[in-house]
């Protein structure tokens, strides 16, 4: 197998990954809601940016988790410096940061938090997608009885 074939395989797997993500989004419209009809240019642009961030995280969970871990490690290191400690104290006391946290949690659905084996997708990501895909359509009373208790 020559390098060109290997690269072709990687490109094809990437294409399959994107198509799979499209399929997941089609089956779970809440993950990729339609844009509001009345949105003007700026609002529509912001909507697209926010949705793009969500797709980037949900579509690349292992890479997103690695970037997340790198930034957390760098943030902890920076917080041990005088300048970083001042910034940390300002951030934890900031109402604007609390608002930003709500935005981030709404976008990421907290899939980057919690346990994750090295270089793999976080457990929370798998849980979210399983709930989103499997949980869809379980309003049926018969099927609902088959749903394990405490299954979100």
């Amino acid at each position: 197998m020559n390098p060109e074939v290997l690269v072709g395989m990687l490109a094809e797997m990437e294409r399959i990954r994107e198509l799979t993500l499209d399929l997941v989004e089609q089956q779970t419209p809440r993950l990729a809601p339609a844009p509001p009809h009345e949105a003007d240019g700026t609002e529509r642009t912001m909507f697209d940016v926010l949705l793009g961030v969500r797709r980037a995280v949900l579509g690349n969970p292992a890479a997103a988790r690695r970037v997340h871990d790198i930034l957390v490690a760098e943030g902890r290191r920076y917080a041990r410096t005088p300048r970083g400690a001042r910034l940390r104290d300002g951030l934890v006391a900031s109402e604007a940061v609390e608002n930003l946290r709500r935005v981030w949690e709404m976008l990421s659905l907290n899939v980057l938090d919690g346990p994750a084996a090295p270089n793999t997708t976080p457990d929370a990501w798998a849980d979210l997608l399983a709930d989103a895909v499997i949980g869809r359509g379980l309003d049926d009373s018969i099927l609902a009885r088959l749903r394990p208790e405490d299954f979100a």
């Binding site: 943030g75 300002g90 951030l91 934890v92 900031s94 604007a96 940061v97």
Partner: protein, 92 residues
Amino acid sequence: MTLTDPRNALADQSDFIGYLVGLAGLAQVISTLAGDGDGRGEDPRDPDDFVHVLLGLASIGATIEGFANSVMAQQNPTAKTPQTASATRWLR
């Protein structure tokens, strides 16, 4: 383009400096957010991963600004810092 037939001009399409400027801009936004401390002054939460992510971005932004400032200091003839080729390599 293939591995055995690379595209020579690919590096010319890079927007590496744009990435750095964007990160520095994000860091400035985070510093601005830290100044909005009126709302939770009585009840600040412990710094969690989210806060440390913001701190990490701020740290990277500060480092990038440090690169740019060192280059500007070298381009200033009154600056005391000696010129070196290695620093100008970072931000052109």
